[in-house]
Amino acid sequence: MSALSGLLLAVASGALWGAIGMIVTGVTLTLVTGAVAIPQIGAGALAGMAQAVFLIWRQNGRAGTHVPVLGALVGFVVLLAVSFAAPFSLPMSVITGWQILALAAFLGALTFANQVCLSDVPMGPMTRYHRELVYIRLAKGIGFVLFSIMVALPFYVMVMTSLKSQQALLANPLDLSIDLSQGIGSLFRSYVELFTQYNFGRYLLVSAFVSVSTVILTLLFSVPGAYAVSRLRFPGRATLSRSVLLIYMVPAIVLVIPLYAVFSQLGLRDSLVGLLIVYPATTIPVALYMLQGYFRGLPSELEEAGLMDGLTRLGVILKITLPLSLPALASVSLYVFMIAWNEFLFAFMFLDNPDIFTLSRGIVSLNSSEVPRQHLMAGAVIATVPVLVIFLWFERFLVQGLTAGSVKG
């Protein structure tokens, strides 16, 4: 191995971080302010490189408390020198405050990343173990940046677009800043219009009604079923508990044509009753599967004691089994609620009458050239916020539900 492999690694890692940091801050600056800030990637990479070399040089001498500050200073000087004092290809007189903020964020992030990645890296030769440690740190760091952007960017765009006006969107699609000067009323204009002119209040209520009813119906059907499968002995039990999952694999699109034909003839198609027949039918198998797994884990001695003391089977289920399985019931309910709330296909195929649109169906009707797209995004936000709030509130239960039942997707 080369006698300077530590130094080479530091140079590569520093350049990588400099480039990534520059791209991310430049793009973020653009999206936040609307000014086109073209990041000087080369300058960023050079700054990162210089800083990395400085850091490992200092590390190998005596450790000082000023190292991070000095490192940031090195990065700053190199960046400004190489990019001719315009790291974002903008003169410093434009959006000065934001540029300084972006610069500070870049230097802070760069110094942090370099320090974490290059801690204990010598100038000289390194063992394979230590080199791989640095590779993994690099990969993980890049992973964090990549995943966070990948997940957060669409949601950020969704929310910000819904707060813009048509003219602003057409004038500069890059400008995703919030213009607070226009006042709250004008900021939330899309939402106000959706609720006043597009009947979204009603859609919200219908969606809530359908989802909650689906949860209740599903539990009513699946609790006795799951109890029977997990506690009672009967011929065909093993086959049944296995085939439940197979039913679950049947795609909705295969069911939709026959159901459409039959429901049309029965007059159930354009009605919430029709939806409330189909939704529970698709969620009951998985609810049953999740619940029977949980019931099986409960000690059966408790129930036997209840039976001995004179409770009926129903009494045992209501007074012993259900109270013990509240966490499982919560998981199943949340999971089923999420499926029903997010359901699109049947709502889209079945509902024609705008009075009984669910949110999903209502948003599809917004997807036309006559409706401005900030309305579409506001509709998307309205549909997303309730699920996300519930999800964050009950994350523990929902994650359990997802892992137990998420053979479906």
């Binding site: 590779y135 964090f144 059907f221 011929p235 049947v250 995004m377 997303t384």
Partner: protein, 441 residues
């Protein structure tokens, strides 16, 4: 077991003479009955809404059913009073106009019943009709398609009739009749399957389905594995990040799909604006609308399926949280002793990942691949909302919709659905055969 024990057991069950009971006792039977009773509602609804339609698909797929055929043929009837009666004794004519609602379907045993308006005394009645009291019944018999006719009943009126606000409107005429329902009739055709398999489109649909399923599943799995590695070790803010990483999966498909469409819009989308303004590309890229980009690799012209790739990227983005959750859960249950031992033996981090972590995760990875493979294959909403199946992204599931509803040919749609189902059963068989038992799914 000692001899004494055996003896007491024998005493306790003198009739069975130390043999275990055979057959089903009354207790077992009661328990089984209770179980069936508790399962009956589930069984019925699943039978009706899942199994029934599955079989019905096979039925519909061999029938010449169009979307318009779902409205059953009926006789449309319109009642009106002709002639202006001003004084009692004046003549008026009650006229029923009848029409077959379809062009080509006959309706049998058509019977019209109605209540005559009060104060109307019929004088001439068509021979098809009979009147008892005020009840009118006309047996019209079998009528062909496009048939239309009038029935006239002449009569006189008295003052009671004249006092009515709108005579003839207080009772609606009722029509009864039988028509062949195309769904329940017995004409069959193979036309649907011929149409589906003959189309040049079908094989490209099959290919797109294959690419979408394999790469969508693989992408979600790889991203999930990567994300799980990131969040495996504890650090501040881990639970926040874990929550954030689940957002794509938890949010409604309609919201995230439209967000992607707007994000990648060629004219005003953020991504294209960024790419053009920063000088990465000359002209905006139509991510969801461009079927293929041509390029040449070492002089060989190649095509890159752009829209399909974007759709696959969406699939991987939306479903990586699921594999991430499963893989993370599995990783956290791996015993750390093994890693300590490996560390002592000088295994490098990548070796530890490759030779220790991956084999431990192989079980869950294969189960996830099987399940996600089936679910990606089943996926309809995502592609439908992103591209509507255009630009070379039409999978089998989108084709079901396209044939059945966009082209209004329910029979052909059902034929595609049958293809989907048969492939699905094949996959399920293969997977059940190969899936590892120990993961308990």
């Amino acid at each position: 077991m000692t001899a004494a024990d055996t003896h007491t057991e024998d005493l306790a069950r003198p009739n069975t003479a130390s043999q275990p009971p055979k057959g089903v006792g009354p207790m077992e039977r009661r328990e089984a009955r209770l179980a069936y009773l508790m399962l009956a509602p589930t069984f019925l609804i699943v039978l009706g809404i899942v199994m029934g339609p599955l079989l019905a698909n096979f039925w519909i797929s061999v029938k010449p059913v169009k979307l318009g055929d779902l409205r059953p043929p009926t006789v449309l009837v319109n009642e009106r009073v002709r002639g202006s009666a001003e004084a009692p004794g004046d003549p008026v004519t009650l006229e029923y106009r009848l029409r077959n609602s379809t062009q080509d379907k006959e309706i049998r045993d058509v019977i019209l019943t109605d209540t005559l308006p009060a104060g109307f005394t019929p004088e001439t009645v068509p021979e098809l009709c009979s009147i008892s009291g005020r009840e009118l019944t006309c047996g019209i018999g079998t009528i062909p398609g496009q048939w239309r006719d009038r029935l006239r009943i002449e009569g006189t009126v008295n003052s009671e009739f004249l006092a009515l606000n709108r005579p003839g409107r207080e009772s609606e005429p009722v029509i009864a009749g039988d028509a062949d329902n195309v769904l329940t009739s017995l004409d069959f055709t193979l036309e649907n399957f011929i149409e589906v398999f003959d189309g040049a489109e079908f094989w490209s649909v099959l290919r797109v389905t294959f690419y979408y399923t394999v790469f969508g599943t693989g992408g979600a799995l790889v991203l999930g594995l990567f994300a799980a590695q990131l969040l495996h070790t504890a650090f501040r803010g881990r639970s926040v990040l874990r929550g954030l990483f689940l957002f794509p999966y938890v949010s409604p498909v309609i919201a995230v799909a439209f967000t992607w469409v707007i994000l990648f819009d060629p004219f005003s989308g953020t991504v294209n604006a960024l790419l053009t303004k920063m000088g990465v590309v000359e002209t905006p890229i139509n991510f969801f609308g461009e079927r293929a980009i041509s390029y040449s690799l070492f002089g060989i012209p190649m095509e890159f399926p752009l829209a399909l790739t974007t759709v696959i990227a969406f699939e991987a983005w939306r479903y990586f949280p699921l594999s991430f959750l499963f893989i993370l859960a599995r990783m956290q249950s791996i015993n750390t002793d093994m890693y300590e031992a490996a560390e002592m033996d000088g295994a490098t981090p990548l070796q530890q990942f490759w030779y220790l972590s991956l084999p431990q995760l192989a079980g869950i990875l294969s189960v996830l691949f099987l399940l996600r493979f089936i679910w990606t294959f089943n996926k309809f909403d995502d592609i439908f909302l992103l591209t509507g199946g255009n630009a070379g992204t039409r999978t089998l599931t989108v084709d079901v919709y396209e044939q059945g509803f966009a082209l209004s040919n329910l029979g052909a749609g059902a034929a595609v659905a049958v293809v989907v189902f048969v492939l699905l059963v094949t996959f399920a068989m293969i997977f059940l055969h190969f899936s590892p038992k120990e993961e308990g799914l």
